[in-house]
Amino acid sequence: MTHIPTGADPTDPNAAGHEVGGGHGGMGDVPELQAARPLRVDVWRRFKENRLAVIGLFFIGFLILVAIFADVIAPYSFTERPGSETGAFRQGPSKDFWFGTDSIGRDVFSRIVYGARVSLRIGIVATTIALVIGLFFGAIAGFFGGFVETMIMRVTDIFLAIPYIVLAVAVAAVFGRSENAIILVLGLTGWLGVARIVRSSFLQLKQLEYVEAATALGYSRSRIMFRHILPNALQPIIVYGTIAIGTTILAEAALSFLGVGPQDPTPAWGLMVAQGKGDLANAAHLVFFPGAAIGLTVLSFVLVGDGLRDALDPRLK
């Protein structure tokens, strides 16, 4: 998933299968056409043309660096209260405290830097869980059909009937407020949409000739399912997954805000907004900076996801 935008790998066995969509497949015997280029080269070329998506990608890269080197970047730890010594509580941005201080004198900038770790970890791990569960059930439903499909789709119907926030808040109340619990909650509630997408791709793909050919060759069902259909069903999932990291971060912020997310010393951005809401009149920066951090992060993932979709399937544009 992560290696898509990087360089070419002519030996990639999947690339040839994808080439149909790209339309750039060269014929070896026509001299002026190039040899078949792997999909990722084309995708990257088209992706680069989308300026907003590239900016988003840069921001995500920047964020990952911030998360890795948080200890180096942040002047204080996220629990330290440097402001309490000088009486700098709820102080606006200044030379010493770039993003100001919070109600107990902690440095907001340091907390936002450490918060990048929390958001990225929750967003990426929870989305991965949701993708794995959704891929599994969606693939089974789409491939086998019949009773299994009906059961799985009814279960997703039941959970999709409950508005997502209500479902997530209720499940979160059971799992508790640790960071791992939130990851589980978001993963376990996020797979429903994935399952539906995977199912409909499988339904389409299993009618294609190459699946028929594979069946005729006597391959086992699991081999057809995972080796032949799955790689071709991955495109929409990659796009969905990229955007889902953003929406998962958004959901985590909402849970934190409603009081069922991570607890206090954890520098979760949503929680910081919730803690700052009482001071809107005299310390609006307590809401503004973490709010902007959430917004920029989510926006970046959405832009990259949109860019990937356009790059993967140029016919959509």
């Binding site: 907003l52 009814r154 119907d157 039941i158 959970f159 999709l160 009937a161 409950i162 508005p163 997502y164 926030i165 209500v166 808040v169 209720a170 499940v171 109340a173 059971v174 199912r199 409909s200 339904l203 953003g246 958004l250 912020a253 909402a254 805000f257 409603l258 009081g259 069922v260 949503g270 907004v273 919730a274 809401k277 809107l280 009149a281 609006a284 809401v287 503004f288 709010g291 959430i294 917004g295 920029l296 989510v298 926006l299 959405v302 832009l303 949109d306």
Partner: protein, 340 residues
């Protein structure tokens, strides 16, 4: 068509049953004894006699299957029980809060339809113009900012800031609550129209709630309109010598609206979710904020009662959207294979 509607309505029964049962059972996994919660309240020591009374009154001592059956017996008679924390009847609470949510939702959806579609249309017709680019970035931005942050930003800009800087009274909006206390429902004309002071309380939550779905509606309208503009019948209309205005309004708009109508219906789930957050930010006493509170205070009857109504409304609207879609576009067949 009638068959399809009946089948969908029948499917609704198990869906709602299992969804509510799931939430019911979920609460028995929760740490903490609800009886102690009701009898004690906060950190006070629990009086054992009171505890027994509470257990008796709510039947909390019964084994789980009995409680489960009793819950559904009551619910089927439209008796949603009593709140654990206030003792009020949930049916009453529902009546109070639902009205407020409907009002807020009405205005939010009105904004979504008018502003969203207009912005989407303009940016589709003037593709690649400055307006189009601003719309693309703006809609993406608005849907990336959490609803509650948006709510606080609006509060700060239009209520807190003007207040701090002694702006004239008429230019200051209200941050929270639902209108002058004690004036009751007299503040609304014909149920939906805010009267007198009321509009100052309504604007900010309504705009906040509308933001996310308006952005979605704009994006959807733009995409759908762009597709329609490329269609053959549009070229035919142009070849016939029709004016641009007539082409767009008579041939383009009507065809582009189909997916948008669906979106606005399906989007209701997002509106409900956003309503939970918006109502919490603005202390708007509607269903959303009450549901959020009920989860936090472990008030199971309130949670289940209000969620039941929300789930029913959501499912029914989805059904209406599906049916109306087929109504608008006769090519769409409803039935087993249209379900996916």
């Amino acid at each position: 068509m009638v068959n399809y509607i009946l089948r969908r309505l029948l499917l609704l029964i198990p869906t709602v049953f299992f969804a509510l049962s799931f939430l019911f059972l979920l609460f028995f996994v929760l740490p903490g004894d609800p009886a102690e919660l009701i009898a004690g309240g906060g950190d006070r020591a629990v009086n054992p006699i009171r505890l027994e009374q509470v257990n008796e009154q709510y039947g909390l001592d019964d084994p789980l299957p009995t409680q489960f059956v009793n819950y559904w017996k009551r619910t089927l008679q439209w008796d949603l029980g009593q709140s654990y924390s206030t003792g009020r009847s949930v049916n009453e609470i529902l009546g109070d809060k639902a009205i407020n949510s409907l009002r807020l939702g009405f205005w939010a959806i009105l904004i979504e339809i008018t502003v969203g579609i207009a912005v989407g249309l303009i940016s589709a017709i003037r593709r690649y113009s400055l307006i189009d680019k601003l719309t693309t970035v703006g809609t993406a931005g608005v849907s990336a900012i959490p609803v509650f942050v948006l709510g606080f930003v609006f509060q700060y800009m239009f209520a807190v800031y003007p207040n701090l800087h002694d702006w004239p009274e008429w230019a200051t909006l209200r941050t929270s609550q639902i209108g002058p206390p004690g004036s009751g429902n007299g503040d609304w004309f014909l149920f939906f129209l805010p009267v007198g002071e009321q509009w100052r309380y309504l604007i900010l939550p309504a705009v906040t709630l509308a933001c996310v779905s308006t952005a979605l509606a704009a994006r959807m309208t733009r995409g759908s309109m762009l597709e329609v503009l490329r269609a053959d019948y549009m070229r035919t209309a142009k070849a016939k010598g029709l004016g641009e205005r007539a082409i767009i309004s008579r041939h383009g708009l009507r065809n582009a609206m189909l997916p948008v109508v669906t979106l606005i219906g399906l989007d209701l789930g997002a509106v409900i979710g956003a309503a939970v957050l918006t109502e919490t930010v603005f202390s708007w006493p509607g269903l959303g904020s009450t549901i959020a509170d009920s989860v936090l205070s472990r008030d199971l009857p309130v949670l289940l009662g209000l969620t039941l109504v929300v789930v029913l409304a959501y499912s029914l609207i989805n059904l209406i959207v599906d049916v109306s879609y087929a109504w608008f576009d006769p090519r769409i067949r409803l039935g087993a294979d249209a379900e996916s």
